[in-house]
Subunit: 600 residues, 2 copies
């Protein structure tokens, strides 16, 4: 393992996994008995090594030489395949899968720690692996045994790759308006016709095949999302024995050219436009996954994983930007302290300046907070999967549901802001393409958009997740936070002081939520959903920091000092921001609704 | 004049210039008697036309085909010169200069309105013109008559271009550490040796010559900024009769490759490295501008203009992004209102959604607020120049001094945020390079960095501008805001309500400022200077919005409705953010200082 990395802090990761989350305790559960702290640590070491040696090394090249169309074929940088081969060889695509299918049967929380290295090193190249894993995981949960044999095994082997195809040119956030249709054929297959947009990894030559999971509508299905079904549509047909057959009619319509994330193709795909006639007939051949008209629910298996993955990826980009700006601030000499009026005295490192330290501390609080949050969410999945009672499983499921929009959105917003601060610390150098931080900022800007925009997550949180089951999800969250508040109060001292602030914010949030849920007009209720998401997110992160503060209380080393200082920063500079946000919500403000469109 | 623009709103510009600032009243002053409302309007029309026809047309090309070095020469897109030629032909480089030197003798506030069109259309191409103007204006104020003849006249004619050379590779924010030296020669000239970094427009082939204004140190000068002198160093020597002579030893060391603003060269320049031996001797030939060791004060003539220019440019980029996202929100159909559960009903335009309207209203409040602020600052310069008493001139000068860091920083921060929201409204499309908004976001990211970073402006405001003359600058600002508060209170109704909030914030700011100025430890006092800058900025913008609210009170049209709604938005969603910021300041928080560098 390299001694020191500018991708992530292994020290912090160990603190979060072991001191705080006590992941070793998972090995007592049946699913994870083959593992140990050592096996967890070893796999994280391995990911760190691969990320440094094979991912970070072509991150800039991915940005400067984006995928090209040459004679109708997508040409990627060859380093992408080399890097992915290392991941496959380590068995990492099947990290969380059952050993029965060749998986490592690792906890999700360890897999999340593993992924963080790759995302930090090269988010675009890692995207191919991530989508393949999420695709495979969906099929493991909802596909037939035969589909698993024909498609999941080759994905785990690195021979096939995966995508998710939801959006269309006229249906982005509004999935109800998906028009791609799936016509049933006698033999039980379907023929798919339509156009999908924003499909990451939609075409490339990395392997032998690409497995598209496509939302489409069977003729006669109900309008809206209740009429969507999910189809498996491979680029090349696959026989029942796994042999690769003729070209399916899934054709690349064009590459989108993005601000960042340039190393991963983003595509327009045409299904059944007639360029190929597989098995002599028009339409892309597709197989149903799950039941008809249940496609969105099935797709959400992948979407929820993708949403948590987006938050984790945003976190990793924020984290590496933080470490790079920290490194720069320690080494770049510039200026003197305000009290030093002697211009001939030597210049001090940037980190000596209070404002630079403020920008570092802000980043630290965002990225280490977000890393805590994403690991916590991943462990919730493990806890849920291995829960001993249905009741416990339901409670954890509710908690995960209510946290998912926050896990997706908070890092996307604040770790992007961390990247902004990382540029600022670099000054003019940070604005150049010679330093990494400007790429991280551009790469990270995608995260508040894809897999459900910030506004969509907000409506999901306020309109659904905090309301369903008569508010049970919200109560589960409140009780989680209140337990920490109580624990910190019992500790006393500064912990109790922080707990007092968190407790007050939590009470206020509960009041405001009740007030909003009581608002009879739905449009008014949801008008400030984004602000609700941000306020709730900041309160959840304050909880994460209280937890980290408590877990670090026995640490007298630099890590302990840093954790306490970052928690203090978060409570003094960040948590109070929720005051004005909650005030807008408490008054059920209608300013935006009362603004006539003509007045803009 | 084109009917409708996506660069700026002419309607808003007219409101700000005429309804609010009453710029026509300036024509009563001796300096501007040759002008009229018509001449003001005509020149703005002309700028609008040139901006649309010759600047906006190659904005994307500037981004995708950045300047290249070909055989040691910088190759720009040919459209850059075509556009600048139009500006020169209209006499706009000398817009504010005396008619005696061929200037249009326009008020700065009108020139600022003119520039806004060009910045919105193509900030990179406009940069060449802006730097040339600022350079010429410095020489008009501080150069000798002979320097004005030899250099300013050709700049106004578009034959010469200008730069400002402050930073060096090891001296960015810390100007005290500039090491470029200027050795005096018998004939009264100097020989310059050193390297300058981040020099925009530092090399190109747009005209016959480039006039560099260079901060350097004469041997024996005091250490620090008090030992800096300013030199005029042309790329080609210029004879006393204006003829262009041999190549001076100012040599392009390399081009910086930036995240945005790609159309304007950004360079490393070597002075006196020995590539050329002008007049047979080593060293770039330079002429002193102003007195020895007074270089920084003289340079600040240009710097202050540049700082206000940065704010104005950030505003223009924010403004055009707002209008483009507004246009997209009006035309893109997506989704349905929360109350519409019928998926077969037609989709609504994005602008129908509360969250999209929130993002539009936020942008409107930022960009129209910032435009008001930058125009106000420009008019302050006019008022100061034409003040009838020394006392009035001093008061206006103090006000301009205290506002300058805010005019530079607030738009750089919040109009960049506006660009972020413009992307968000576009969804996935906004993340692609096919739409303009992602370029605006990248272009605008420079503005919090150059011409004094956010942190430098913050120290300027809290450490100097609010403290000098025993706090007279701050008192001038307070009195300006308090007058509006009193006026709005007298109006009553909603105006009085907003005034109450602004008055309270102003009182709190004054308390906090006193508390900070009373802090004996300088490092502690300045530790949260950036937050002080942001809080003061938001309060000043709340004042701008109160002023706009009052000026719009008689307007029953869409503009009036929009102004009132945007003011309301700012007071409900934005001004309250100052509460937590001021609280951090009031407690003279030392969290960042107490964080040990080892703890990161």
């Amino acid at each position: 393992m390299p001694a020191k990395s500018l991708l992530l802090s292994r020290n912090d990761l160990d603190f979060l996994l072991h001191d705080w989350l006590n992941v070793e305790a998972l090995t007592a559960r049946t699913r994870f008995t083959d593992h140990s702290r050592e096996s967890f640590d070893d796999i994280i070491d391995l990911c760190h090594d691969i990320a440094e040696a094979h991912f970070a090394t072509h991150n800039k090249k991915n940005d400067t030489r984006e995928p090209e169309l040459v004679d109708g074929q997508v040409r990627l940088n060859p380093e992408v395949k080399d890097a992915l081969d290392k991941v496959v060889a380590a068995g990492l695509l099947a990290a969380t899968a059952d050993s029965a299918i060749g998986g490592l049967q690792l906890p999700c929380v360890i897999q999340s720690a593993c992924s963080a290295w790759f995302s930090a090193a090269n988010t675009a190249t890692w995207g191919y692996a991530f989508l393949t894993m999420a695709n495979a995981n969906l099929l493991l949960a909802h596909g037939s045994a035969e589909q698993i044999d024909r498609f999941v095994r080759p994905m785990f082997d690195g021979r096939f790759h995966g995508t998710m195809c939801l959006s269309e040119p006229e249906a982005g956030s509004s999935l109800a308006d998906i028009t791609t249709r799936a016509e049933p054929r006698a033999e039980g297959t379907y023929r798919i016709f339509g156009t999908k947009m924003w499909i990451s990894a939609g075409d490339h030559e990395l392997g032998q095949n690409i497995v598209h999971l496509v939302l489409a509508r069977i003729p006669g299905a109900p309008a809206g999302v209740k009429g969507l079904s999910l189809f498996l549509v491979p680029k090349y047909l696959v026989g029942s024995d796994g042999t690769i057959g003729e070209r399916n009619d899934v054709v690349l319509g064009g590459l989108n050219h993005k601000m960042g994330q340039r190393g991963i193709t983003n595509t327009l795909l045409n299904f059944g436009e007639g360029k190929h006639l597989p098995l002599g007939e028009a339409g892309a051949v597709g197989e149903l996954v799950g039941a008809p008209n249940r496609g969105l629910a099935v797709m959400f298996h992948m979407m929820n994983e993708a949403r948590i993955g987006v938050g984790a990826s945003a976190t990793a980009l924020g984290y590496t930007g933080y470490l790079k700006s920290l490194d720069y601030a320690r080494t770049r000499l510039q200026g003197r302290l305000p009290t030093d009026k002697e211009p001939s005295s030597p210049q001090v490192p940037l980190i000596a300046h209070a404002d630079v330290r403020r920008m570092l501390l802000a980043q630290k609080s965002y990225v280490e907070g977000a890393l805590g949050l994403t690991l916590y969410a991943a462990k919730l999945i493990d806890d849920q999967r291995t829960a001993e009672t249905d009741e416990e499983r339901d409670r954890l499921g509710l908690l995960l549901d209510v946290l998912t929009p926050i896990v997706k959105s908070w890092p996307s917003q604040w770790c992007l802001h961390a990247n902004d601060l990382a540029i600022q610390i670099h000054g003019g150098y940070g604005y150049t393409r010679e330093y990494d931080v400007e790429q991280h900022y551009r790469d990270n800007r995608l995260n508040p958009i894809h897999e459900g925009t910030h506004g969509i997550q907000a409506i999901d949180l306020l309109g659904r997740k905090t309301a369903i089951a008569d508010g049970a999800g919200l109560r589960a969250l409140e009780s989680l936070l209140q337990n920490s508040v109580n624990r910190a109060r019992a500790v006393g001292g500064e912990a109790a002081h922080l707990a007092g602030q968190l407790g007050a914010a939590l009470t206020r949030l509960a009041d405001v939520t009740r007030r909003l849920h009581a608002e009879p007009d739905l449009t008014t209720r949801l008008a400030n959903a984004s602000i609700y998401l941000e306020a709730t997110g900041h309160i959840v992160l304050a909880w994460i920091w209280l937890e980290q503060f408590l877990a670090a209380s026995v640490r007298e080393d630099d890590l302990g000092g840093g954790k306490r200082a970052a928690a203090r920063y978060f409570y003094r500079y960040e948590l109070p921001k929720t005051g004005p946000w909650l005030e807008v919500l408490a008054t059920v403000d209608r300013t935006t609704l009362d603004m006539s469109p003509n007045w803009f």
